[in-house]
Structures are given as structure tokens and as C-alpha cells.
Symmetry: C2
Subunit: 224 residues, 2 copies
DNA sequence: ATCATAACTGATGATATTGTCAACTATGAT
DNA sequence: ATCATAGTTGACAATATCATCAGTTATGAT
């Protein structure tokens, strides 16, 4: 085990010099700390020194990687919204039924929010900001809804309303988990949310339930 | 017309001494300025001096009314979420059909967000914050959904999912208006959103469309 | 008209935050 | 082993923000 992991480390070293790795890790620590703090208190409510302290790096290091607080925030939005959309595309590239694509996307999103509450918090906090909808996750959803309509898989209807209904329902599901949810069960929330969304898109109730419970196409690879 | 309104003003003066009115107006100016600034930049991203400057009152006046930035923010949440819920209750008190209550609530909410974009911005910015769902608007919606289920007006289903679907769809409608909406028409958005929401609750499509287009019970009185 | 009270005001000192920089350390090439 | 380079670091000065307070103005009762 030890020899195996050091062999892996050796290979990694060969590909990526220590210096480069060190820099990348500092940047990653800053991004991760900023994600947590900004999700909890909002982008503006966090100071640079709080970020560097939480990341356990020197104050000055921040400015080696980002020119301002706003810059790290923008980098964060890119990471959260775009990288996850790319990951979804990779995981679901072989799924042909648009209904199943939407269902699996919804489930993966809610699952990740549950596994990484900070990620979920950031998603709901920034998901409605005017310049955030028009990005990775949103564009991807719009595309899938159009596909489903073209294939007559969804009931003939209003693309725009379908889009806001699906995105809004998913975000609200995640948000409600940490507020009123104490009075409700959130067991099987990914599946229940997927089923509700499919019904809104006009899929028959029993079929919606069935699709929402299918084995979830997944991946061993981490999100980013 | 002029004599009528000055008569009203005279009565108001009699009931409310100038001093009291002055104080109330200062407070109102502060709240209104804070609403605009916090909606645009987030609660934490605004300074007290920015608020007093925008409100056109002295810096020190702020602390006559609120003990901190956080205090004015909380007062704002109360205003936005609770007063509007009370207003909705007053306007819709004579409507008996739960489907029509939900439809009219949805339409009024979107209409107000359109008339007062700052109000809408604040609603979507704070509507998902963990302690904001569990307030006026949210509790009211929950109550109406339960009523509709008890009356078997909505399809038998998951109260929690119904709640998040309706609230999420409304918030996302408002949010999308100022982002991706440039590629879609938002004509009749209140009605389209109400119809979508009713369908999600299990109301038949043609009936949902009809309810969503009924004359909207309204009121001459302002919201607050 | 006079006065006590309530509300407003901006200057002030205390504190917090920012962005820069010169010194320091780790890295990897020679 | 030596050295140039890249990356890290915290101290520092400049600036921003906060909360208080003593002085001012408006109000309304006598």
C-alpha cells in the first residue's frame, strides 16, 4: 500500500514538478476556503484575511493568485457552475432519453448539494444572480429541455416556463433542505424532485416515478 | 381632486403629529435606500454611510433608528416578506377556491416584482436564505397548498415537493426576467407562471389556463 | 414666547480592511 | 554546490468603516 501510493506519487511528480503543484495547491486552498466563507456569508461579507486564514496561507499569497476579492468570486462562479455542467455532460453522454437526462441531472445536483453542503449553499445563493443563470448549468438545462420538446418526449409547452420551473424547483429543494425541512422528510429527495420535475414537463406520473428511480449513471471521477 | 387630497392630508395631520411623521419618514427613507442598495449588492456589501447618503439623511440618524447594519437588514426582511404576505391575505380573503388563491398569489407576486424591480431583486436574493423561507410568504403558501390538498383540489401528492416547486418556480421566473429573458418573451408572465404552477399541483391544463386568466382580485391600497 | 423633549447631524477616535513590497524560502537547472 | 527564478510571507501605510456623542434644530405643550 505504501509502496503503491509512493509509486503513484512518483509518477505524479514526474508529470508535475513540485513547484507547480505547490502553487496549484495554494490556489485550490484559497478557492476552497472562499467557497465555504462566501457560501455562508455572501460574497461581500468576507474579508481577504479571513480567506487566507481559513486557507492557512499567508495574507500576501492571496494577491499572487487573485487581484481582488471580486476576482476570486468570479473564479468561484466559473468553477461551481461550469465545471459541474461539464462533469454532468461527461457522465450522461450515453443517455439518450431526454427525460432520463433531466432526471439524472436533477438527482446528481441534489446529491452533490447533500454531500457537499457548502457547494449547495453557494449554488442557491448565487444561482439566481442575473449573470449566473446564463452559464453552464442553465444553458445545459435549456438544451436538454429543447431536445425533449423536439423529440416530443415532453408535453408541448412553454420552453421558458419549463426552464424556470425545473431550475427553480431544484434550487428550492436544496434551499428548503436546510430551513423548513426539519418539519418534513427529505428522504429520497433527489428522486422525489426528479419525479416532480418530470411531471411538470408533462411526463405521466407513473412513468415519471419509474424514470426517477432508475439506477443513476455515475462516475468514479470527482466533479472538478 | 386637490381639495379632496388636502382634506385627507389634514385628517392625517390631526391623527399624526408632524414630529412622529418626520421620524417615520426618516425611517422609511432609510429602509427604502437600504432595500435598493442591498438588493443590488447584497446585504453585506453595503455600508451605513452609503445608506444614509442614498436616503439623504445625516449619518448619525441611522443609529437613531437601527442599532446596526444587520438590524436594518432584518427589518427589511420583515417588511418584504411579512407585509406582502399580509397584503395578499387581505386582498384574497374572499377567494375560496385554493387553486385560485395560489394562482392570484403567484400573479400578484410577479406583478409586484415587475412594478418594483428592486423589491423583486430583494425577493430573489434573500428568498432562499435559510431563515427567510420560514416566514410570511412561505408559511402562507404552505397553508394554501395544504388547504387545496385537504379539499382534494390538487392531485394527491407530496406537500413538501409542491411547496418547493411553487416557490422555486415563482422565484426563478422573476430571476430569469432580468437574465436569460432577453431571448424569450415575458409577455403574460404572471399568467403563464400561474398556469404552470397549477399544472404542477395537478390541475388539468385547460382549467389551469382558465383560472390563471381570471380577473385578478386586487386592491387600491398600497402594499405596505 | 418659553421651554422640555425628541430627533437629526457630522466630526471624531477606534477599529478593520486593503493592496504593496521587500525579505525570505523552496525549487530545479546547471 | 551554486544560483536564478517563482512563490510565499507578514509588516506597513493608506484607506474605509463603524459607533458614539456633544451640539443643533424641530416640535408641540404650557
Amino acid at each position: 500500500m505504501a509502496s503503491r501510493s509512493s509509486a503513484i506519487a512518483a509518477v505524479a511528480l514526474e508529470r508535475e514538478p513540485r513547484g507547480t503543484r505547490r502553487k496549484r495547491e495554494t490556489r485550490a486552498k484559497l478557492l476552497s476556503a472562499a467557497l465555504r466563507l462566501m457560501a455562508e456569508r455572501g460574497a461581500e461579507g468576507v474579508t481577504v484575511s479571513e480567506i487566507t486564514e481559513a486557507a492557512d496561507v499567508g495574507f500576501g499569497s492571496f494577491y499572487n493568485h487573485f487581484e481582488s476579492k471580486d476576482a476570486i468570486y468570479r473564479a468561484l462562479v466559473d468553477t461551481v457552475f461550469d465545471e459541474f455542467a461539464d462533469w454532468l455532460d461527461a457522465v450522461l453522454k450515453d443517455v439518450n432519453d431526454p427525460a432520463e437526462v433531466v432526471s439524472a441531472s436533477v438527482r446528481h445536483t441534489i446529491l452533490r448539494a447533500k454531500r457537499e453542503p457548502v457547494w449547495g449553499l453557494f449554488l442557491i445563493r448565487e444561482g439566481f444572480s442575473p449573470d449566473a443563470i446564463d452559464r453552464g448549468l442553465g444553458l445545459r438545462l435549456l438544451r436538454d429541455i429543447k431536445k425533449g420538446l423536439a423529440a416530443e418526449r415532453f408535453a408541448d409547452g412553454d420552453v421558458f416556463m419549463y426552464f424556470v420551473a425545473v431550475s427553480g424547483t431544484v434550487l428550492a429543494s436544496i434551499a428548503a433542505t436546510s430551513s423548513i425541512a426539519h418539519r418534513f422528510s427529505t428522504k429520497d429527495l433527489p428522486e422525489r424532485c426528479a419525479a416532480t420535475v418530470l411531471q411538470t414537463l408533462g411526463v405521466e406520473r407513473t412513468e415519471a416515478d419509474e424514470i426517477a428511480r432508475r439506477p443513476l449513471p455515475s462516475s468514479k471521477r470527482s466533479y472538478a
